[in-house]
């Protein structure tokens, strides 16, 4: 189903996956996440990895773990917006780094962005 890049810690990739789902709206505020075991089987990863993912997400304030019931996405709109921005922010930073490596100026970048924005998807 999902193919993970095994050169990068898998737990980070799963965290990304969940964050993306939240941003896209597949997972809405207040939704219950799959149990650790179910998700592990679905993604074909070690349950401890999923456990760690949920713990990290809870630490970041994105989900809440209710003992005995499960993990839930937070309902806080502001928090969700934060996540979106930070996720986008990470990627944009990486992207800018790559563009700087090929010596692209900000003006050229703006032009290219406008040109290709419509083309994609």
């Amino acid at each position: 189903m999902v193919d993970f890049d095994e050169r990068i810690p898998i737990y980070l990739q799963i965290m990304d996956l969940i964050k993306k789902k939240i941003i896209k709206g597949d997972l809405k505020g207040g939704d219950k996440l799959s149990s650790v075991r179910e998700l592990a089987v679905e993604l074909k990863v070690n349950p401890n990895t999923v456990q760690r993912v949920y713990q990290e997400l809870e630490r970041e304030g994105i989900i809440v773990i209710v003992r005995g019931t499960g993990a839930f996405v937070v309902s806080d709109e502001k928090k969700l917006k934060e996540i979106k921005e930070s996720l986008a922010g990470e990627r944009i930073k990486n992207f800018i780094k790559e563009m700087k490596e090929i010596n692209l100026s900000k003006e050229d970048l703006d032009l290219l962005l406008s040109k290709y924005w419509e083309e994609v998807n």
């Binding site: 890049d5 095994e6 810690p9 898998i10 990863v45 070690n46 349950p47 401890n48």
Partner: protein, 229 residues
């Protein structure tokens, strides 16, 4: 204290040293990948843990106790060649396990057999290699044990069946037991392993958490393995 403790383990076959100064621990809830080239001592190590072979020196303790025939009640071993005599049907094997292993989980086994699309009255000698593996795996992990040792559970099996087997293993994960999977199909197994052990010529080269390897070395376990060997 972990469920498995190995200290200073050596195993000789005559003059040949199969295992040299192995020190390992294993905890409940872990899935450990034991990776090494052929002849590196993987199978020897597993057989020592279950008690089929006896250490030349050093100690192995399972659940705090030395190894004797009672250890086999809490260690479940899946060998890499066929476990079952050819006269048996799957049902015979089921009955055998039910009779000899206290706490054998009948429903779990039946569910697994269904999941693998097999039926109870098939004869062992009529099964393909992949199907035999699935039956033996189902028997092994339906036992209620503290340590599960799987020796090359994916060897010689088509990719589709391999995935099914791995999912079967994951579905039956137990938090209160340790699982050690030895294989050279590392890329299949690395995403389900918490911890990874590299063994070569009887010596442990690496014993590390999987994610730590990815963070620190920025490569997959498979790549690291190829680099090392």
């Amino acid at each position: 204290m972990g469920v498995l403790e190995i200290k200073g383990l050596y195993k000789y076959y005559g003059k040949k040293c199969a295992l040299k100064n192995v020190n390992l621990t294993g905890d409940f809830g872990e899935i450990v990948g034991l990776f090494g080239p052929n002849g590196s001592g993987k199978t020897t190590l597993l057989k020592l843990i279950v008690g089929f072979l006896r250490p030349s020196s050093g100690s192995i303790r399972v659940d705090g106790k030395d190894i004797d025939h009672n250890t086999r009640a809490i260690v479940s071993f899946l060998p890499d060649n066929n476990l079952l005599p050819s006269w048996m049907t799957i049902k015979d094997a089921f009955n055998f396990y039910k009779d000899f292993f206290p706490g054998f989980e009948e429903k779990r086994f039946k569910d697994l057999i269904d999941y693998f699309n097999l039926s109870m009255n098939r004869k062992v000698k009529e099964l393909s290699k992949g199907e035999q593996e699935k039956v033996c795996l189902s028997l092994t992990i339906s036992r209620k044990a503290k340590i599960y040792l799987l020796d090359e559970p994916l060897g010689g099996i088509d990719p589709a069946s391999r995935e099914r087997i791995l999912t079967g293993i994951l579905k039956n994960y137990r938090e209160d037991s340790l699982m050690i999977i030895s294989t050279h199909l590392i890329s299949d197994v690395e995403s389900i392993a918490d911890r990874v052990i590299f063994i070569s010529q009887g010596e442990i080269l690496l014993n590390e958490k999987t994610e730590k390897i990815r963070e620190e070395k920025k490569m997959s376990v498979d790549e690291l393995f190829r680099k090392t060997f």
